[in-house]
């Protein structure tokens, strides 16, 4: 498990073995329940217990701006900056042939549909399932911000996505202040906020 070294793992295991059966069962059930309840938001693929995550449900947010990230951890990091009021799209990784991850393993197809306006975009549409004529008149996505870390794989993913969605919308990317080769996750909030301000349109 991430963040737990061999010593801690041993301590945890020994501790659990000493607990009464009932307690272990409760813990196991809690884990199973959490696993079955927490899924992905149908629209943005952020972690969510509901079909639609709290961010996508929030009608006060700007529904015309999308921020594309690789991972739910980055949604959480970006939310802490309070700089961004639009919606997200979580890719679930970056293109990496070394790890056997091609574009089809990510939520890129869903992103293209979202941007092309071929998927429902309001909570009513998604939950009700009835396509209202009004909804289709809603303003479409005006800007997609690509906030993918500047690693080699992130760069390739950024270029791949940009080339697919450019026909539909304005595409920008965050560029400033991020440590080269670094992960978005490790950038501090100030850096991230500045990076969002300094975003640039992709040529």
């Amino acid at each position: 498990m991430p963040g737990i070294g061999p010593k801690s793992a041993q301590r945890l295991a020994l501790h659990l073995l000493k607990r009464p059966d009932a307690e272990i069962e409760a813990l196991a059930n809690a884990l199973l329940e959490a696993k079955s309840q927490v899924g992905q938001c149908r629209q943005c693929f952020h972690l969510s217990a509901e079909p639609l995550c709290s961010i996508c449900q929030d009608m006060r947010r700007d529904r015309q701006t999308l921020c594309v990230v690789t991972d739910s951890r980055e949604v959480i990091a970006l939310e802490k900056t309070r700089e961004f009021r639009g919606l997200y799209h979580v890719l679930g990784g970056v293109i990496s042939p070394m790890d056997g991850v091609g574009p089809e393993a990510l939520t890129i197809q869903q992103l293209v549909q979202r941007v092309a306006g071929r998927s429902p975009s309001t909570p009513q549409e998604i939950q009700g399932g009835q396509p209202s004529t009004q909804a289709s008149n809603l303003p479409k996505i005006k800007e997609v911000i690509l906030a993918i870390g500047p690693s080699v794989e992130g760069e390739t993913t950024t270029l791949y996505i940009a080339q697919l969605i450019k026909p539909f919308t304005k595409v920008t990317r965050i560029a400033f202040g991020l440590p080269v080769g670094g992960d978005l996750e490790y950038a501090d909030e100030v850096t991230l906020a500045r990076a969002l301000e300094g975003r640039q349109e992709l040529e």
């Binding site: 293109i95 990496s96 042939p97 070394m98 056997g100 091609g102 574009p103 089809e104 690693s151 080699v152 794989e153 760069e155 390739t156 270029l159 791949y160 080339q163 440590p179 080269v180 080769g181 670094g182």
Partner: protein, 398 residues
């Protein structure tokens, strides 16, 4: 540039050692396996963040210990700086400048510059192309530290692209075994092609950066190497250093002008297209600076095949002196010179030539097993330190 002090803690066979360098030349004398090269390795690490002996940090940590620390106090024209590195048995290293831990380790480059010369450097002439690429890359990192990042990016893209090609080749073989005879001879046209085109473009962009920088470094160093070879051979030998990029570069308009990034990228992509079928079938990248070489010719003949032993030695010395001059002219300050066991291998004429070149301008650290192995000129005004079982001390007169 002057390295004033070096501290070693639990580094290799040193438990705790402080070395104060108090003369332009320091001679480390001692028997085999006492720790002479370990001191040079620590300096090399501070200068390049790399050791030519190992890529594994844990080997640097004294046996039985968890961490090792080395620190150098450097004076430069711009002022003093303290550069520290901490190596760990089981975790990533950290690099610190003036006590501040760096977020990007590459930012620790360029504080200390050093040129190394050891008996292994004869491989520069005799060894394969990878040895010469490593030498040129090492020089480039000294000249422009950002090159370390440029090269790292290229290698990463290369590995990803190789993985993609390998997977495709595997699929191709799988189809050839199970399917009919209609195996495609050229890459399929589907989403994969888009994906590969992107990696091609990334490789060309990252590769062109490497190629242009290597080309530029070579135009800087080649004239120096030529001059030195001429001097040491009494004007008998003409040393020609030529960059041989694997991607053929378009004919240059002016004599030494390096084509633009854009033009090199185009040439790179054209070379990829020319090899597309071979790459597709072999499942690996056949084009790019990972296949570069540098040719060394004496009077028009390849030094590797036709040079005598003595000539080859002279070529290596010329290359090292040229490296020293190139770093000095680009950095604006003389770098350190690290001579590991190499001085005794040079004849007296070449020892003299080296001595008169470095004088007191280049701070030099020399290792040897015998003080008597080289000319007395080297000893005068030098600081001598005895190395024994992981400890340094000034020799007693008794």
């Amino acid at each position: 540039m002057y390295l004033q002090q070096l501290q070693l803690k639990q580094f290799r066979n040193y438990a705790e050692q402080t070395v104060d360098f108090c003369a332009p030349k320091t001679i480390l004398v001692g028997d085999n396996a006492q720790g002479k090269s370990n001191v040079l390795e620590a300096i090399e690490l501070l200068a390049t963040l790399n050791s030519h002996r190992t890529h594994r940090d844990r080997e640097l940590v004294q046996w039985g210990q968890a961490i090792a620390h080395i620190q150098g106090t450097v004076t430069r024209d711009a002022g003093p700086a303290e550069l520290g590195m901490t190596f760990r048995q089981k975790a990533r290293r950290t690099v610190a400048v003036n006590g501040q831990s760096l977020r990007r380790q590459l930012d620790g480059l360029g504080i200390l510059n050093a040129v190394q010369f050891s008996s292994l450097d004869l491989d520069l002439v005799r060894g394969g192309p990878e040895r010469r690429r490593a030498w040129l890359d090492g020089l480039l990192v000294q000249l422009e530290p950002v090159y370390a990042h440029v090269l790292q990016q290229y290698n990463r893209v290369l590995r990803q692209r190789n993985a993609l090609l390998r997977a495709q080749a595997k699929r191709l073989r799988g189809e050839a075994v199970t399917g009919d005879r209609s195996t495609p001879l050229l890459p399929e046209t589907d989403a994969n092609t888009d994906n590969q085109a992107l990696w091609d473009a990334q490789l060309a962009v990252a590769g062109a950066r490497v190629i242009r920088r290597r080309s530029r470094a070579l135009t800087l160093i080649a004239p120096h190497a030529q001059t030195w070879q001429q001097q040491m051979s009494n004007a008998q030998e003409m040393l020609q250093l030529t960059y041989c990029p694997n991607v053929p570069l378009p004919a240059e308009d002016a004599e030494t002008k390096i084509p633009s990034q854009e033009i090199v990228q185009q040439a790179f992509l054209a070379a990829i297209r020319a090899k597309a079928t071979a790459e597709y079938h072999q499942g690996m990248s056949l084009v790019g600076p990972h296949r570069d070489d540098i040719s060394l010719e004496i009077n028009g003949q390849p030094a590797r095949q036709f040079g005598s032993q003595g000539q080859q030695r002279t070529v290596v010395l010329s290359l090292k002196l040229a490296e020293l001059m190139t770093v000095e002219s680009v950095i604006g300050e003389p770098p350190l010179l690290l001579l590991d066991d190499v001085l005794a291998e040079l004849d007296l004429t070449r020892q003299d030539r080296l001595l008169s070149t470095i004088q007191d301008r280049f701070q030099t650290v020399i290792t040897t097993t015998h003080l008597g192995a080289f000319d007395a000129g080297w000893r005068s005004g030098s600081q001598v330190l005895e190395v024994k079982e992981g400890a340094l001390r000034s020799p007693s007169l008794s």
